[in-house]
Amino acid sequence: MKRRILSIILAACMCVGVAGCSGSGETEQTDEKGSALEGSISIYTNCVGVQAEIIQELTDEWMKENPGVTAEVVAPGADYENVMKVKMSSKDMPDIFSTHGWANVRYVDFLLPLNDMPWANDIESTFKELISDDEGNLLVLPIDQNKWGLVYNKDVLEECGVEVPLRTIDDFMAALEQIKTASNGEIAPMHIAGGDSWPLGQIFDQLATPAFTTAENNDQEALLNGTFDWNKWTDFSEMIKGMYDKGYFNEDIFTAKYADSAEAFATGKAAFCWYGNTIVEEAEAINPDVNAGLQPLPAFYEDDDMSFLNGEQTAFGIWKDSENIELAKSWLNFMAKGENVKKFCESESMLPGIETDVPVDVGFATEYYEEFADIRSFPIFDRAFLPNGMWDLMCKDAADLFTGTISAEQYSLDMQNEYERLLEAGE
């Protein structure tokens, strides 16, 4: 009998507990004009390391300026996209979240238009198009922006007698061979952290821009309207497979992690990396004297020119159904202040996403952006020309291609099938 009485008490406690769980979590907010802001917001970011710390520091400063508010910064790191997908499916988004390059494709249905924000007109027009929806509504505050090119270790190239800029893909291939030969195989011409899977797609994605979208006769339209000839991807992937076969990548390409790439770059064991400017910051943490350089991506065709890749990097939007929109707007306005943008961009050598009256020093990249100021910029290939969701296949099949598990034809066929499936699902 004692057991039964105990069971009743426990069952009652469980019911009360379950009921209690569903009743909490409401936030208070006074949005009367003229009164101080009050309430709490959640901010989710894909940033890690120094950038995540800066976001936390700036948020703390914002809370000091607004004593009635509290903010929780969540930085789940590599799991960020998965966390956000679960939140999107449950329609339970954070008040503010990073869109990491996908504002206009993946997150557009969840974002509040920000046209009325005071900094909305301070974004350069071609870049603004990339972070606006089809009706021209600005979707996010871009703290910084990508301007990706080919990042190299200057000392390694000098040591191996390679002169930059490498204007064509042939020049680039010749440089890779020269590095391999001159270093006697000691230096990896290119370092890719395939153990993390996603870096394997970087070289395909970045070189696809000059291969398919920058020349006068390009495939932009065909890629967008679904008429792209995927046989071209066969030739393209065979070319990159050729680089693998010739030993132009690090020997641990399938198991190396991102930190290994940074270390190899920092210690002069790798010449080129495909991660944009952020790898230099990571490398400098290992070797402050690392001498990094940057050039635009080489052209694939004789009549074409080099190019940069441009797109959003660290950008924040507001969930359109948030109950704390005023608070969220206040936070964005705070982040858009010149000194805050400067602090963030200088931590990663990235260009600012908005124009401010506070000059930003982008470190090693400054001289190269000045030198190549006239070089055209194009949107990042997969974000602009492939349906959302192809990245994983691009990386997995790249590994299978390199290991000889599949042919370049099979890779193209898989890409085509997935492209068509995702287009159909999107419709």
Binding site: I5, A11, S197, D252, T255, A399, T403, T405
Partner: protein
Amino acid sequence: MKIQPKALLPCIPGFERGMLMRLKKMLNSKGIVNIMYIPVILLFVSFIIYPLIKGIGISMTNWNGYSDASTYIGLENYRKMFADRNFFLIIKNTLIYGIGSAVLENVVGLLYAVLLDKKSKAVGFARTAIYLPVIVAPLIMGYIWYFMFEPIGGAVNDILIAMGLESVDLLTKGTTTVWIITFINSYQYVGIAMMIYLAGLQTIPADYQEAAKIDGASSFQNFVYVKIPLLLPSITVNVVTNLIGSLKLFDIIVAMTNGGPGYSTQSLSTMMYQLYFGKQDAGYAAAMGIFMFCSIAVISVAVLLWFRKREVDA
């Protein structure tokens, strides 16, 4: 135990004897026992039955995992799964992870249990050392072994090089890598198997073994014909739980190879995860999940029934 109304009555002001009797009757009724099942049934329906039914529904759509839009496509995802060129490789890997781990954990676990079925300080230390990996999170265990096996700077390769041998990238060797992961999974959980076998061995009455000895049985015969049959309940528990756990192996694979290179070390669990989050093909991921659920259920029940038929009472 019966409630003593007289003892309780003075404690509750205004509580009448009739009410107490009714309460007593109610608490002793079958109805109240059935009410106790409600929380468990609610939890089971909420977290097992509902997701399962929902999963079956999703597996028949082309849902991308987060948008509002999805279209009913019938059994297309199941057709796609069986036509997928990587599917049978993934099945093979999953079976190696599952059956390989179950066999290794049970054989080694039983061996450890037999060797350590004694009372001494050294034995206690050995049991603790074998059980210790169980308390490490599997993801951490995967990373520890990743650092052992990584081709540049990994301990295994450093040893090979020190011995004058060529270094080997053991994490990119397809089926060999699958077996390495299976070994690591077994290493981590062999302690649980050992503990269950130790408990089983200690419940075997000494009379049976003495009787066998008197009849002239050798130690080996004693083990095979006396101990093993009486250990069958422990074997059943161990094999079935190891099999279920290893067939859905996930963390160690993610830490060591993330299923790669390509799809070479993928299991059904890791593939399902990558289909959902990577390829944004939640319908296909759900179809694979349903297939995995049914496969594990069929294999587990079959193994359970097979062992149960052979169990004997001590």
